[in-house]
């Protein structure tokens, strides 16, 4: 089939260089596409969509009637990352997650980083995601954040940035696994021989991470996945991961605290639970310690947790590192603990709490993206250049009222990947969410979730707002057979 003309929109395209020729990483793939008969791609795209429907891979949309499931669009053309760049990304992610784990542990215990004034005390004290209930806790291996899904974006100049760390309950990994499965089913002869890093071991690695963090002395730990239930937007993923790992998918009402331990209620009575992979937020975990109106959690769970008789992944309290004002300090945090420069840079961030920076933000509202510090999922964001004068005025007022609640960043032009629109390839904007597991070892899944904004020119990749997803290929190094997935032991580099 004829791929050209492929009209780029002036940003960075992951597949094609500005001169229209494929980048080195995409060259073999592009040759294979060219060899396909006309219309073949579209047929395969249709077959992929049919597969999605049959496999019942869905997500829930909150605004729809309860129980409405939607198919998340999948685009057949992958995002390809070469071995060298991936190796840098994986190292950068590992550095970041290790530093953030040390940071969270420090914040709730010795507070050295605060005493040394590397981050301001007021910043931490004012963080709404700081959980006083966690002060003085020491999770196994001192790991707080076992599962992270870091959002990366690439700007027009080709530089990759970390946009968010997502230290609480990041979702999307099930789509990564299903997308690969779909790719193999529908595009086998193109995929074959491309030397793509496998990702299928993720459930195994996740299970290992969970079992490794069991309370000391438990010889054959029982792990469960705690879901808020069928109406949660990520319910499919909860069910999928539980099934893949062969552990029970439990609701809060399935668990009970008795005699100092957490148990699940089974047909044969109570069975002790040692590790909970919880996919519900801190606030809903335990009505006795957090929000009293929560019916999703388990009463007195925190008492058992504090006594070290159950492990929670991720640990409660990690949200403090998700605060977008704290995010601005991550490069400093990395330097503080490792005495190294960050491998992956932050998006430049203005803290509205700082008078000087606030002034800059207020006078450049038409150029900046303004974000609330404690929301996720794209809620409450002002896109300055696209906002009306009225919206900007409202935003300015909100910033002046509660400056600590706001940060601002420059508008980045997300990179594009060719996407099938009708019979043609069109550039569509993408981001990338790699998944990192941290326990006794660190495991970085090669690739991650590539989300794509299917509307022309749109930068909004969220599934609820017209986004789709793609398979992400990390190529193996052509000369060696070494695996690019990073597994190293924690002891070797912890400080």
């Amino acid at each position: 089939m004829l791929l050209l003309p492929y009209e780029m929109d002036g940003g960075f395209d992951e597949m094609f260089a500005p001169d229209g020729r494929p980048r080195a990483s995409g060259e073999r793939f592009v040759r294979r596409l060219e060899a396909l008969a006309d219309g073949n791609l579209r047929e395969r795209q249709k077959s992929a969509e049919l597969n999605l429907q049959n496999m019942g891979i869905t997500f829930n949309v909150y605004s729809h009637q309860a129980g409405t499931e939607k198919i998340w669009p999948f685009d057949l053309l992958p995002r390809i990352i070469d071995a060298e760049e991936w190796s840098m990304i994986a190292k950068g992610l590992e550095q970041r997650i290790r530093a953030l784990n040390l940071f969270v542990d420090d914040v709730y215990n010795d507070r050295k980083i605060i005493k040394d004034k590397a981050v301001p005390e007021s910043l931490i004290a004012s963080s709404k995601t700081l959980r006083k209930q966690c002060v003085g806790l020491r999770p196994a291996q001192r790991v707080w954040c076992h599962i992270t899904g870091v959002d990366l974006i690439r700007d027009a100049d080709g530089q990759l940035y970390v946009l968010e760390d997502n230290m609480r309950c990041p979702s999307g990994v099930s789509y990564v696994l299903e997308n690969r499965e779909l790719m193999k089913r529908t595009f086998a002869h193109v995929f074959e021989g491309m030397s793509v890093e496998p990702i299928e071991e993720y459930p195994e690695q996740l299970l290992k991470t969970l079992l490794d963090c069991a309370p000391a002395g438990v010889s054959d730990p029982v792990a469960v996945l705690l879901t808020p239930g069928v109406h949660n937007s990520a319910y499919f993923e909860h069910s999928f991961l539980a099934q893949q790992m062969g552990i029970e998918l439990v609701h809060g009402s399935d668990l009970i605290v008795k005699d100092g331990f957490v148990h699940m209620i089974t047909t044969r009575g109570l069975q002790r639970v040692d590790v909970i992979y919880r996919r519900i937020d801190d606030d809903f975990l335990d009505p006795a310690h957090f929000r009293a109106d929560s019916c999703l959690g388990v009463k007195n769970l925190m008492d058992v947790y504090r006594a070290g008789r159950v492990s929670l992944a991720n640990a409660p309290g990690t949200g403090v590192a998700d605060d977008k004002a704290v995010y601005a300090y991550v490069p400093d945090i990395i330097r503080y603990y490792f005495d190294q420069d960050p491998i992956l840079p932050n998006v430049p961030t203005f803290l509205c709490d700082d008078a000087k920076q606030r002034q800059h933000v207020l006078s450049h509202l038409d150029q900046l993206v303004v974000k609330p510090t404690n929301e996720s999922g794209g809620y409450g964001i002002l896109m300055g250049p696209h906002a009306s004068a009225n919206e900007r005025a409202e935003c300015a007022e909100a910033i002046q009222k509660n400056p600590r609640d706001w940060i601002a960043q420059p508008m980045l032009n997300l990179s594009t990947v060719p996407t099938l629109v009708g019979d043609e390839l069109k550039p569509r904007h993408v981001d990338l969410r790699p998944f990192v597991l941290c326990g006794k070892d660190v495991y970085v899944m090669p690739g991650g979730l590539t989300r794509v904004a299917l509307k022309k020119g749109s930068m909004i990749v969220n599934s609820s707002q017209g986004g789709g997803s793609k398979d992400t290929w990390v190529l193996r190094n052509g000369t060696t057979a070494n695996s690019n997935s990073v597994v190293t032991t924690l002891e070797s580099s912890s400080c």
């Binding site: 019942g56 998918l249 009970i256 089974t266 047909t267």
Partner: protein
């Protein structure tokens, strides 16, 4: 296994079985009323008696016309026991335990749901309900077959069969209870004049006509009652359903033969034993209706005790039960 999951799969099967039986009720009544000249109300009221939902019906419908009754039993979403409601609840149950059921079962339930929804939106469905009822029965069979053929016959599967068999036993008994007296001309003298067409329709609604014919040949009301109640091999007979429920219960409890670990198991065992040694003449002498009524009450109690023994949280605070009694 998790109590919630066990309860969900148990009810999933009950709802599917219930939907299937409503289709059977409608079908038999439709056949029985074809060509009748009696007033409409008389013909369709028995159907409401069969499903024991008269009170609910009277609240929202002015008269038991064919259209009203069919609408109420098939597609009325406010009626928790309508086919639409049952299938929707079965599917919703399945959705919360997708990690437990096979994908084929899930897909089949999805298909079932869409089938009933689509039929509910088409005005033609209730003009000729037989085709639709037939589809519902077949889809239910497919679902049960898929569960048998693609799921491990583990604890979850046995809870599913337990639910299905309890529901089936109850529904077959209701069908027989209501239609038996309607089909006897004077409402009293059992074994008197016989309308082969109508008794065949009753048997057919339980998919029992061929099996009955092979066993008994001629259609005799007392033998029909005996077959639907006491047959050990016909899968919709009350006795068969109770036996299979007991089998699954034993697989769940792990009890020795002729013993029990749970109260529900004890009651189910008693019910089975009484059916094992029952004789139709005695039943008719003491009153078929009374016998069936008691059967239904026992099944109800067993259902409640299953909840207490396996699903409820309260049991965990009670002192441990006595162990096996032989």
């Amino acid at each position: 296994m998790l109590s919630r999951v066990a309860e969900t799969v148990y009810w999933l099967s009950r709802y599917v079985e219930r939907a299937e039986n409503i289709a059977r009720f409608i079908d038999v009544n439709y056949n029985l009323t074809l060509g009748e000249t009696e007033s409409l109300s008389k013909q369709w009221t028995p159907l409401l008696e069969t499903t024991a939902d008269q009170d609910e019906f009277v609240k929202r419908y002015d008269s038991p016309t064919r259209e009203n009754v069919l609408q109420f039993l098939s597609f009325d979403e406010k009626n928790g026991n309508s086919m639409t409601s049952c299938v929707a609840r079965a599917r919703e149950n399945a959705r919360t335990i997708r990690e437990v059921i096979s994908s084929v079962v899930w897909e089949q339930l999805n298909t079932f749901h869409h089938l009933v929804q689509a039929a509910g939106h088409s005005p033609k469905t209730l003009e000729q309900p037989q085709a639709f009822c037939e589809q519902v029965r077949l889809t239910s069979h497919l679902l049960v077959g898929a569960m048998d053929a693609t799921m491990s016959h583990d604890e979850a599967w046995h809870f599913s069969r337990l639910g299905r068999m309890i529901e089936r036993g109850d529904k077959t008994s209701r069908l027989l209870d209501v239609q038996y007296y309607n089909l006897l001309p004077d409402g009293g003298s059992v074994g008197s004049s016989l309308d082969v067409v109508r008794w065949s329709a009753l048997l057919r609604s339980a998919s029992a006509l061929e099996s009955y014919r092979r066993l008994r040949g001629k259609i005799v009301p007392i033998r029909v009652a005996e077959f639907l109640m006491l047959d050990r091999k016909f899968p919709r007979a009350m006795h068969f359903a109770a036996m299979r429920a007991r089998d699954s219960m034993r697989m769940i409890s792990g009890s020795e033969l002729n013993s029990y670990c749970y109260h529900s198991e004890q009651l189910l065992g008693r019910l089975c034993s009484s059916l094992d040694y029952a004789v139709i003449d005695d039943i008719l002498q003491d009153g078929l209706h009374e016998y069936i009524d008691q059967f239904q009450r026992q099944l109800n109690t067993i259902g409640q005790e299953i909840h207490e023994d396996f699903f409820s949280v309260d049991r965990l605070n009670a002192p441990p039960q006595d162990s096996v009694v032989s």
